[in-house]
């Protein structure tokens, strides 16, 4: 059988279905803990190796074993790597969800399924491929205990055959995945892939329209998750003290970092670590250690998610007032306690921007890709030390935990910037210093580090009650002077945080604003708005808070500005409202998605069209 020569025909109408090449999504529905992650990663990587732009989204439960998991791979010749709402090709391995999974498909989709589930009885408008997985796994995996894990690799072979994915690429991806140390396991899994491929060759006549063809759009690119990218950024930023408390979806950020630190940051001469990593007893302790370390001059970082951010609130206020550098990654997820901790959101924007009590505001960085997780990690440390304040890097579960196709990271060209720190020699020259005096008009004073070998080095660090010389005070004028200087310091960050990326369309009335992972849906939605409705749009992708002047200019240049974000309450828009005048605010519209899955282009397009009244 040759899979490409068959003319695809719609099962219901008998009408011709146009071949769909490199532009569809594959969803694998399994049970977590069944080893499906390996099979899915191999499939995604094989498509990537064929030069086709690809993305992978794992939707998993807060559970270790036995609950439903869906992994969606999207191949897109246009390079769209956001989530695609529609599933085109389903691999139904989970009896619990199979029925609902099949019923949700659009007509004309294809289904590979475990034969005993008899899913073909449910609908007549789909392409069905039944596979007797249990019969196939026995001969390739004599050891019964391993069958549950190997079974999933069979569908890689089936899918490869049906979608014309080169088996050599599957082989390469599989052995890359297992590494040299696990060659035996790789061989076992390869046998399962081949069994699947052979079964499909002998038993299926290709009737669906989907296939993969080689392209050359992934040359030089890498596949990495955002958490690992952020971890690498920290390692190359020269991080020295790392603290953390395990929490989904941020744990793998520090776990990846530990791996890279062990590999690259043990001094070759002394055999000793040029870093310290502490798994703290909770997030309060994690941020306390970060602030203590930052105060004493380390480049210190912690990584957490929303619940941890809430717990850090009091300490962050102290960090703000005592003016201590710190970098905090917030890998955002859906809200508190049990429920949806494994689903993505951009729901901590407003609370983090003003985290703590009293008057506080904090710089936030919004990476949208693994490359930016890497570069913004480095920028965050430079900003934190320059402005002597906690800096938040706001990523999310989608970016942090999913595998992304990305450009290879560039080695930093700028040297590490440690900010305004006085040494013993400086103190000899100056004869002393005033810790909180603004000498250069940017609101940032000079600090000394404990252990500086000089009788004039010491100062006392406390909360809001201090004067320029760091002496205790409860005086009204001292307090006002201090908080005003802090506000001024925040203002001076506007020229130092990364500016937005603006794509201005000369004729557009509509402007779109997005940040972080909402970018991919907006990027694709703009093409949909143009192709389907003839609407031109401009686009501003925000990279940081406080806002830079480009945002205000962008609002002024457009009639209506849609702020796209993944939370219920339009949190970024709320921050914009705090800064802008009524005339600008009147132009702002909100487009929100908050269902816990990564936002998709269709949802954005439909909502904008609805609001535009078209």
């Amino acid at each position: 059988m040759s899979t490409t020569e068959i003319t695809p025909v719609s099962p219901r109408s008998g009408e011709f279905q146009r071949p769909v090449v490199n532009d569809f999504s594959i969803q694998v529905a399994t049970i977590n803990g069944s080893g499906s992650q390996t099979a899915n990663s191999v499939l995604m990587r094989a498509i990537f190796q064929m030069g086709v732009p690809v993305s992978g989204k794992n939707m998993f439960p807060s559970n270790i074993q036995g609950l439903p998991t869906w992994f969606t791979i999207r191949a897109s010749q246009h390079g769209y790597i956001g989530r695609k709402k529609e599933v085109d090709f389903l691999v139904a391995m989970n009896p619990e969800t199979a029925r609902e999974d099949v019923m949700k498909l659009d007509g004309g989709a294809a289904v590979v399924y475990d034969e005993p589930l008899q899913l073909n009885a449910l609908r007549s408008d789909l392409h069905f491929y039944p596979v007797p997985f249990d019969k196939l796994v026995g001969p390739v995996c004599p050891e019964a205990k391993l069958r549950k894990l190997v079974r999933n690799m069979i569908y890689d072979g089936i899918v490869a055959r049906l979608l014309s994915i080169d088996m050599e690429e599957i082989h390469k991806a599989l052995f890359k995945q297992f590494g040299k140390k696990k060659a035996k396991a790789a061989e076992l899994n390869w046998g399962a892939c081949q069994a699947g491929y052979d079964y499909a060759s002998k038993n299926f006549t290709k009737s669906d329209p989907y296939s993969i063809e080689r392209m050359n759009a992934t040359a030089g690119k890498i596949i990495i998750d955002g958490n690992a990218a952020a971890a690498l950024g920290c390692v190359f930023a020269g991080v020295t003290v790392v603290t953390w408390y395990p929490i989904t979806p941020s744990s793998s950020l520090v776990e990846s970092m530990i791996g890279y630190l062990k590999r690259f940051r043990i001094d070759k001469d002394t055999g000793k670590a040029t870093y310290a990593v502490v798994q703290a007893e909770d997030e309060l302790s994690a941020i306390g250690m970060v602030l203590g370390a930052g105060w004493a001059g380390a480049r210190s970082v912690t990584s957490t998610a929303g619940p941890g951010i809430s717990l850090m609130s009091e300490f962050i206020g102290l960090g703000y007032y005592a003016e201590i550098p710190a970098v905090i990654f917030d890998v955002q997820r859906v809200g508190p306690s049990t429920g949806l901790p494994t689903r993505t959101a951009q729901g901590d924007i407003l609370s983090t921007a003003v985290l703590s009590h009293g008057d506080t505001k904090h710089p936030l960085l919004f990476p949208c890709s693994p490359e930016e997780c890497f570069t913004m990690a480095i920028e965050a440390f430079d900003l934190a030390e320059h402005f002597q304040t906690p800096v938040f890097v706001m990523t999310d579960l989608d970016l942090g935990m999913n595998n992304w196709m990305a450009d290879a990271f560039e080695y930093p060209t700028e040297p590490i910037q440690r900010g305004k720190v006085l040494t013993a020699a400086d103190l000899d020259r100056l004869g002393g210093f005033a810790r909180y005096k603004d000498l250069e008009g940017d609101g940032v004073g000079y600090r000394t580090l404990p252990g500086t070998n000089h009788p004039q080095a010491a100062y006392f660090t406390r909360g809001s009650g201090h004067n320029e010389k760091a002496q205790y005070t409860e005086r009204e004028d001292d307090y006002v002077h201090n908080v005003d200087r802090l506000a001024h310091k925040f203002e001076s960050m506007r020229s130092r945080v990364p500016p937005p990326v603006v794509d201005q369309h000369p004729k557009a009335e509509i402007g779109l604003v997005a940040f972080g992972t909402s970018h991919y849906a907006v990027d694709e939605s703009r093409d949909q708005l143009k192709a389907e409705y003839g609407i031109d749009t401009s686009y501003l992708r925000l990279k940081a808070y406080p806002f830079t002047p480009e945002l205000l200019d962008f609002i002024r240049r457009h009639e209506r500005v849609y702020v796209v974000e993944q939370n219920r309450d339009a949190q970024l828009l709320a921050l914009m409202r705090l800064e802008y005048d009524a005339e600008e605010i009147a132009k702002l519209r909100s487009m929100r998605y908050y269902g816990g899955l990564p936002i998709d282009a269709r949802t954005v397009t439909d909502d904008i069209i609805r609001q535009e009244g078209k």
């Binding site: 190359f236 670590a273 203590g292 930052g294 105060w295 004493a296 990271f409 252990g451 660090t461």
Partner: protein, 347 residues
């Protein structure tokens, strides 16, 4: 007309500093507060041992006790953290620069209530650090509520009787991993000095629970943390004498009378028997004497436990000897080849 008076030669310590270099700002605590006496002892000990004050960092949480770091070692960096969470700040700072000496002052509310979690985890880590609990059984700064170290039956000024059992911070410290555990009384100058000096010489976590009466809210009849209660119930475990490493005095020690513990820096802590023979290297013994004293309504003071051999947190982390905070870029930013290697693996 003026008379010329030749000032007497300044008395200085072994690094050439006079005692003023170890003082801090004027105290704002109440007259007679035990905490002031503790600050005095800290000043004396650091001065007498010739510790470089710029190589010391002071930490505290929130409360009356936690104000006191402003009143000693004015040439040392200080950090007034948030309530109950000084241990984490101190841990971070010590990791950033392992060459500095860290001293923390906290209270019974700061440690045994809001900060109990951080206290317990500090104990597990055996961080080289001096942790002094100024223990008066009461919240002073919020005007006299019971803390979690108040004894059962102890009475507030308002007549309220405490009916919940106290945490014994020394017992917790013993169980959870501190390597130097002592209890003292702010009114016992000689004992507190010897304990503080031994803690300065100790390479590991020192927990010193100092009963430090609150003259304003907890020094009345019916309080078990008052001066008069301590005078009657302070059961001194042994006589202590600290001999610093640079003092080369050899003294004939009569057999069975004195135990000598050699500290990390070569200093010696001489422990002279008082009534009973107590072995401070046994956790079991320590817990036993604490329990016996509690049953008798006594407050047992002295060095309860000392272990000079346990690895510190820094040892476990296999950290560079030089401060992490100031390692040069060449040490903390891996070369381009390392990044290229990772990128190649991800292609």
């Amino acid at each position: 007309m003026s008379t010329t008076v030749t000032p007497p030669p300044k008395k200085v310590n072994r690094i050439g500093l006079d005692v003023v270099g170890y003082k801090g700002a004027k105290t704002t605590l109440c007259a007679g507060c035990g905490h002031n006496a503790i600050s005095e002892r800290i000043i004396e000990c650091f001065y007498e041992l010739g510790v470089e004050p710029w190589n010391v960092a002071k930490f505290s949480g929130i409360g009356c006790s936690s104000k006191s770091p402003a009143y000693f070692l004015g040439l040392s960096h200080g950090f007034n953290a948030v309530h109950g969470r000084m241990p984490s700040v101190a841990t971070g700072a010590m990791l950033a620069n392992r060459t500095i000496m860290g001293i923390g002052v906290t209270g019974d509310g700061d440690t045994a209530s809001i900060g109990l979690g951080q206290f317990m985890h500090l104990l597990r880590r055996n961080l080289p650090f001096i942790y002094i609990i100024e223990d008066n059984g009461v919240y002073g700064l919020t005007k006299g509520q019971f803390s979690a170290t108040a004894d059962v039956g102890s009475k507030l000024k308002t007549g309220v009787i405490n009916d919940l059992p106290p945490f014994d911070c020394c017992a917790l410290a013993l169980q959870c991993g501190a390597t130097f555990v002592a209890r003292s009384f702010s009114g016992d100058k000689r004992q507190l000095q010897a304990i503080l000096k031994a803690a300065i010489a100790h390479n590991g976590l020192s927990i010193i629970d100092v009963i430090s009466p609150c003259t304003t809210f907890n020094d009345h009849e019916g309080s078990t943390k008052s001066y008069s209660y301590m005078k009657e119930h302070d059961e001194v475990l042994h006589e202590l004498d600290f001999v610093p490493f640079y003092d080369d005095i050899s003294v004939e020690i009569p057999d069975g009378e004195v135990r000598e513990v050699e500290m990390h820096d070569g200093s010696k802590l001489r422990i002279k028997k008082l009534g009973r023979d107590y072995n401070p290297t046994s956790k079991f013994e320590a817990l036993k004497v604490i329990d016996e004293a509690e049953k008798k309504g006594e407050v047992l003071t002295g060095v309860l436990y000392i272990d000079t051999g346990k690895p510190t947190f820094m040892d476990l982390l296999n950290m560079e000897d030089a401060p992490l905070a100031t390692l040069p870029e060449a040490k903390v930013r891996p070369p381009k080849e390392s990044l290229d290697q990772v990128m190649e693996e991800l292609r």
